[in-house]
């Protein structure tokens, strides 16, 4: 084949162009630290990359949800602890009041104290977490208990108070939901039930006022039952918290796993790309050298 100068310079220009392209692609990968900068860089990998990105973001959201659920449960637990403490106090006072040796005046004083503690229990029942009533099912915008719950049921009123029975769910994984609220009925007893904590404390207070030591003795046992009910609810909350902790650590693992996968698909293999870049650079240098050597001389340079 006959070769001419213009053919050689054309070929060199074409090859320089492809060297440039190689350099450009290597440099882009190094500066972005990403192997996939556009879909055509790896049409199969891009689908994986997008999926992993989505999964990572979802996992982060689930993990945040689980943390929120945990703080709601922790708050419920604190409230219930408080209620148990108050009941404990009421129980101690009542034991004092049940003794026949206590004069009626002292019993009245105890009754007043119990009444105050009763109000505290009501306000605990109406506890709010971030502006939401925690014991009223899904009706979080309304207080579950009236000011004097024991006297807001028949026969005192024809419209008894009622707690919403909805359960608040939070998603903590693909298709996995957890209930975060504990219903007031579960903690304090059904309003219409005579063993309801508010009813019990109210009866106890009345017995203290009327010096009925027999009833006081009977209600002390009921107080114990109320405490047990709360503790049972607490242990269920505890179990849910355990599950959440387990879920959280699983979500962390999952997040790490996806991040790892994403990095494998998207990230640059540094040593490989740097080596390629260096190779491309030296090829580029060599082509420039060749160009300067080959193109310049012609027969005319030797005709003097």
């Amino acid at each position: 084949m006959r070769i001419t100068q213009s053919m050689m310079s054309d070929a060199l220009m074409r090859n320089l162009q492809s060297n440039y392209k190689r350099l450009d692609s290597n440099q882009e990968q190094l500066t972005t630290n990403r192997r996939i900068n556009r879909p055509s860089d790896d049409p199969v990998g891009i689908a994986d990359a997008l999926r992993y990105r989505g999964e990572i973001s979802m996992t982060e959201q689930f993990s945040e949800n689980a943390k929120d659920a945990d703080s709601w449960l922790k708050f419920s637990d604190t409230v219930m602890n408080e209620a148990v403490n108050i009941l404990q106090k009421i129980s101690e006072k009542s034991v004092q009041g049940s003794s026949d040796t206590v004069p009626p005046d002292a019993r009245k004083a105890i009754a007043l104290e119990v009444e105050e503690l009763y109000d505290q229990l009501v306000s605990l029942g109406n506890s709010q977490f971030k502006g939401k009533h925690i014991f009223n099912g899904e009706a979080t915008d309304r207080a579950p208990y009236p000011q004097d719950p024991a006297n807001s049921i028949p026969p005192a009123t024809t419209e008894p108070y009622k707690l919403d029975q909805g359960s608040i769910k939070i998603q903590i994984g693909a298709g996995i939901y957890t209930t975060i609220n504990v219903n007031g009925n579960q903690v304090f007893g059904d309003p219409s039930d005579s063993s309801n904590m508010f009813n019990v404390v109210d009866r106890l207070k009345n017995a203290l006022l009327t010096d009925n030591t027999q009833v006081i003795g009977a209600e002390i046992a009921s107080i114990q039952n109320s405490m047990e009910r709360i503790v049972t609810a607490q242990s269920e909350v505890g179990a849910r918290q355990n599950r959440l902790e387990f879920t959280l650590s699983r979500l962390d693992d999952l997040g790490l796993n996806y991040t790892d996968l994403q990095s494998k698909v998207e990230d640059v293999d540094m040593p490989k790309v740097i080596t390629e870049l260096k190779t491309a650079e030296s090829i580029y240098q060599a082509s420039l050298d060749t160009m300067s050597r080959i193109i310049r001389p012609s027969l005319l340079d030797f005709l003097r």
Binding site: Q5, S40, A139, T140, Q171
Partner: protein, 526 residues
């Protein structure tokens, strides 16, 4: 008997011929870098000798005495078959170059993977609903604002991509018009040149440089569309697509109506980019926007939900005392987010069901597309119009009549919408809209779209690189014959210069001989 001055004539012919050859060599050297230039050679032949066979008296002289040299023609070194080969490759190269460029543009518009792309907007949209599911009541309105803002962002991402694809489509149309104009300009030039060539060659010469120009223009035409050249001794025809643009001295312009007959070249590349690639991704975006808002998807309505009045789910187990209340988790197929959102209740009192979540913007009608999808203006105005709760209850405050009131702490609707990210949508309800897959998860569908785009762009890039190599090779074959080699020309120069000097020496020799004959003969004894 040969003339006394015969050899002077022979010498003179030698000088003239070598001079012509040197001129041609100079012409070659100076045009070494001229685009489209074909090296020329002065073709020399021995002149016709004297003494034809005949009845002449042969006498004592030998017959067939040479008459020196003649340049009978100056020709181009060119192979027409290689021209056609190069033009075919050039057409194909330019088709792929254009397609690669268009697909690269679409890739830029899709902008994946990145931190501000559609897939990111979609994920953030789902996550916003997760956040809202935790804060459904009016106590924390900020979670609603997050959903509102992310929904606006998602709709705007769709709008932005659609409008950029529209602009790209317009640009491609504009380029097609420009390229049609450009080819008509070239057609005019070829036609003019053909006429000039015809005139020049009528007198038996070769119109080398004019032909070079014409071939160069046809090369340029071959970038725009597929061309075919047929040259016979008395005609020159060029066909582009199926239009005979040049037929001898007649020429025909091409118009947009002829564009569909082109099978390659820039115009065809632009047409395919516009009508196949851009149209495809506009369609896919429309399908995605439409499916998100109204595509059929099956969800599980949680038990205890209160259905809005008038909604009847066949086979659902409901509370005998309240037929709107579901007693079991119930599967139900809804029409996208819009259909689902209508099953929930806003913050309004008395309980009000949600409206369409996404609507057609600018007061338009018809199906939702990527271009017209908007967040319902009611929600843009007031976030309490986002329906999050799925439960209501009758609250009576005597003496007023009982009022149906929303249970605000219920976030089931937000959970259901957030859960749509894992549900299977029907992207192709009629089976004819060209969806990549008929059913699939929302993000899965988008991944398939991006993956398809990547495959097409990758293919175009590789084809473009291949065709650059192939057209380079075809050009090389052509250049091997036609291009100017400086070394070759330099050695020719030496050759012709020596021949020139030697020819003049012939004349000098004859001159000396004549001098001897005229001035030195017959002077014996003088």
């Amino acid at each position: 008997m040969v003339s006394t001055f015969h050899s002077i004539e022979v010498g003179k012919r030698g000088i003239v011929a070598q001079q012509t050859a040197i001129s041609t060599t100079g012409h070659n050297i100076t045009n070494a870098n001229t685009p489209g230039y074909t090296r020329q050679i002065a073709s020399m032949t021995a002149a016709r000798p004297i003494l034809y066979p005949g009845l002449h008296n042969k006498g004592t002289a030998p017959g067939q005495l040479g008459m020196g040299v003649e340049v009978d023609s100056i020709r181009r070194m060119r192979d027409v078959l290689l021209d056609q080969e190069y033009r075919n490759q050039n057409t194909s190269m330019n088709t792929w170059k254009v397609k690669q460029e268009a697909l690269g543009n679409i890739e830029g518009i899709v902008n994946e993977p990145s931190e501000n792309s559609l897939s990111k907007s979609i994920t953030e949209f789902w996550n916003a609903w997760q956040t809202l599911s935790k804060n459904p009541s009016s106590a924390d309105i900020s979670a609603r604002s997050v959903v509102q803002q992310k929904a606006i962002a998602l709709a705007e991402t769709f709008n932005h991509m659609a409008s950029r694809l529209n602009v790209l489509q317009d640009n491609l149309t504009e380029r097609i018009n420009v390229k049609v104009e450009e080819s008509n300009n070239y057609i005019k030039q070829v036609s003019d040149l053909t006429e000039m060539i015809r005139k020049v060659e009528a007198s038996g010469d070769h119109a080398n440089d004019l032909r070079d120009q014409r071939d160069l223009i046809v090369d340029k035409l071959s970038a725009i569309g597929n061309v075919k050249v047929v040259e016979t001794p008395d005609n020159y025809q060029v066909t582009m697509g199926n239009v005979m643009i040049i037929d001898g001295i007649n020429s025909t312009s091409i118009s947009l109506a002829d564009v569909p007959t082109l099978t390659g070249g820039e115009i065809q590349g632009y047409v395919e980019s516009r009508d196949v690639f851009v149209a495809e991704y506009m369609k896919q975006l429309d399908i995605m926007a439409n499916t998100l808002a109204t595509g059929k998807v099956e969800v599980t309505l949680p038990k205890g939900s209160i259905l809005p009045p008038g909604v009847v789910i066949p086979g659902a187990v409901t509370d005998p005392s309240n037929p709107r209340k579901l007693m079991e988790d119930t599967k139900y197929t809804v029409d996208g987010i819009n259909g689902l959102h209508k099953l929930g209740y806003t913050l309004d009192n008395p309980a009000t069901t949600g409206k369409d979540f996404f609507t057609v913007g600018n007061g338009g009608t018809g199906p939702i597309t990527a271009d017209n999808i908007r967040l319902n203006p009611l929600i843009v105005e007031n976030v309490s119009n986002i329906a999050v709760s799925m439960r209501t209850e009758m609250i009576s405050k005597p003496p007023a009549a009982p009022v149906e009131t929303v249970i605000q702490g219920n976030g089931d609707m937000a959970l259901l919408i957030a859960g749509l990210s894992e549900r299977t949508f029907n992207f192709n309800p009629m089976g004819n809209n060209g969806a990549i897959t008929n059913t699939g998860t929302y993000s899965g569908y988008f991944q398939a779209v991006v993956s398809q785009l990547g495959t097409q762009a990758d293919h175009a890039t590789k084809m473009s690189e291949n065709s650059i190599l192939l057209s380079g090779h075809a050009d090389n074959l052509r250049q091997a014959i036609s291009s100017v080699s400086i070394d070759e020309e330099a050695s020719n120069l030496i050759k012709f210069q020596h021949a020139y000097s030697a020819s003049s020496r012939v004349i000098t020799t004859v001159d000396e001989m004549l001098d001897k004959l005229i001035n030195g003969t017959g002077i014996v004894g003088r």
